[in-house]
């Protein structure tokens, strides 16, 4: 077991512990912080698997997303007013069953699928940003555009909702 493997397992363990931390946290903000630890450890695993672009995207997208979550956490759990919003772990048994079922499906899918490299792909190149860019704008342009339109719709929706509230 070399150093890279140790770091790999460290990140895996950290991600799992942080995920448990989200469930156990009583305070919304602590849960949000556990979430960011979990997401960053996954970014670390991506780096170790030579998926640089994916790792950086993970940090970029989720760091921003979690910050928004934290803002809501701060607004809801006003420590200053001494009335922290505490969340409780409710519905333990249905939650456990759902989680176990999901885990079973994922493990089943992972063990029965044979992962083979794409016939055209060579060894993981260090500079695959260019290749990913070309692929996104040629073979996979429809999903990209649909995702873009979806985001645009939500942006316009947010703006319209906000201006509607101001008029009232």
């Amino acid at each position: 077991m070399n150093l890279k493997d140790i770091i790999h397992y460290f990140f895996l363990l950290l991600a799992a512990l942080a995920a448990v931390g989200i469930l156990m946290a009583k305070n919304v903000l602590h849960a949000a912080l556990s979430l960011i630890i979990c997401l960053l450890s996954i970014a670390g695993i991506f780096v170790l698997l030579h998926a640089e672009l994916l790792a950086v995207t993970q940090i970029m997208v989720y760091a921003g997303g979690v910050v928004i979550l934290m803002i809501f956490g701060v607004m809801l759990s006003s420590r200053v007013a001494n009335k922290p919003l505490n969340v409780e772990t409710a519905r333990k048994i249905p939650g456990f069953i759902t989680g176990a079922g999901l885990l079973f499906i994922i493990v089943y899918a992972l063990t029965t699928t044979s992962f083979s490299l794409h016939p055209n792909s060579s060894t993981p190149a260090s500079n695959n940003v260019r290749e990913i860019g070309f692929q996104l704008m040629s073979s996979y342009v429809a999903p990209l555009e649909i995702a873009g339109i979806l985001l645009l719709i939500s942006l316009i929706g947010a703006a319209v909702t906000a201006s509607f509230l101001i008029k009232k």
Partner: protein, 351 residues
Amino acid sequence: MSTLLFILPFLIVYSIVVIYAERKLSAFMQDRLGPMEVGPYGLLQTVADLLKLLQKEEIVPAKAELWLFKAAPLLIFVAVFAGFAVLPLSPSWSGSSISTGLFFLLAIVSMDVIGILMAGWSSNNKYSVLGAMRAAAQLISYEVPLGLSVLCVVIVTQTLDLQAICFQQGTHSHIPSYLLGIKALGQTNTWGGFFTWNVFRMPLLFFAWIIFFISSLAESNRTPFDLPEAEAEIVAGFQTEYSGFRWGIIMLAEYAMMLLVSLLGTILFFGGWNTPFPNMGSTLLLADWTTGPVWGIFWMILKAFLLVITQIWVRWSLPRLRVDQLMSLSWKYLTPISLILIILCGFWKLF
């Protein structure tokens, strides 16, 4: 790894020099003398301040969230410091040469807002929470024009690797660069110097730099965008409860952020480690004489210092913005202008 060994000691020396420079420049602009007592011309004032800061008692509020409170300044500094890892310092010293360098830098620097929120919330203080909320709103908003203005450069250079961007702006480049970006005016590859800098290869990028500079001021919480620590309204914002060493770390992170965005601006727009002097004819090879490993670091740091001094100059010239002005500047002016610039850069690249 070797970049770290250079950057960490350099940051300490840099912040001592720049805090002194800031105090002296502000004194000059306000017709005062500034620090004069410690050492000749007050040169040792910052060192004395630093020694005082290190021995101060560290006070943690009784109702503060202890671990978050203690970890937050370190998180802020680590986020900013990690950004330095990908910076190339000279032609042969390329930092961590990952192909997504620029993207990584923007992503990791955006992490510092998490530290700021942690600091503000865990202090258990109204002003800290207000400051942290302002900081989060401001940093998230200004990331948009910052990213878009950086995207203009990426469209022109077609790479995310900072070292490759530097190489394109000098005589080593194998990509043809034209005077002011117009092919009819002739190729400037052999000239080098400031002619091959991005702002001269592609004049539109100068406007992109203005947007980059304004948003980088906001990203490093400097006046006119220092609402998170507006001392007249919310004491000192998210850092109100900090003292001693940890407060020093927060300040170090702020000054490190100033240097980081200046270095990034230098690399993206003003040639990175490339010399400003062009080759003149075949005998006066100023560009070739002033290029090399040591020259690279020298030019890089000189240009970054000029940008840092510009930031200080802006800080002591302009008043602070109001919150609504801050938001409308980002969303109603900078973002649309940078979107237009991206379209223009794309068309420029096509023809």
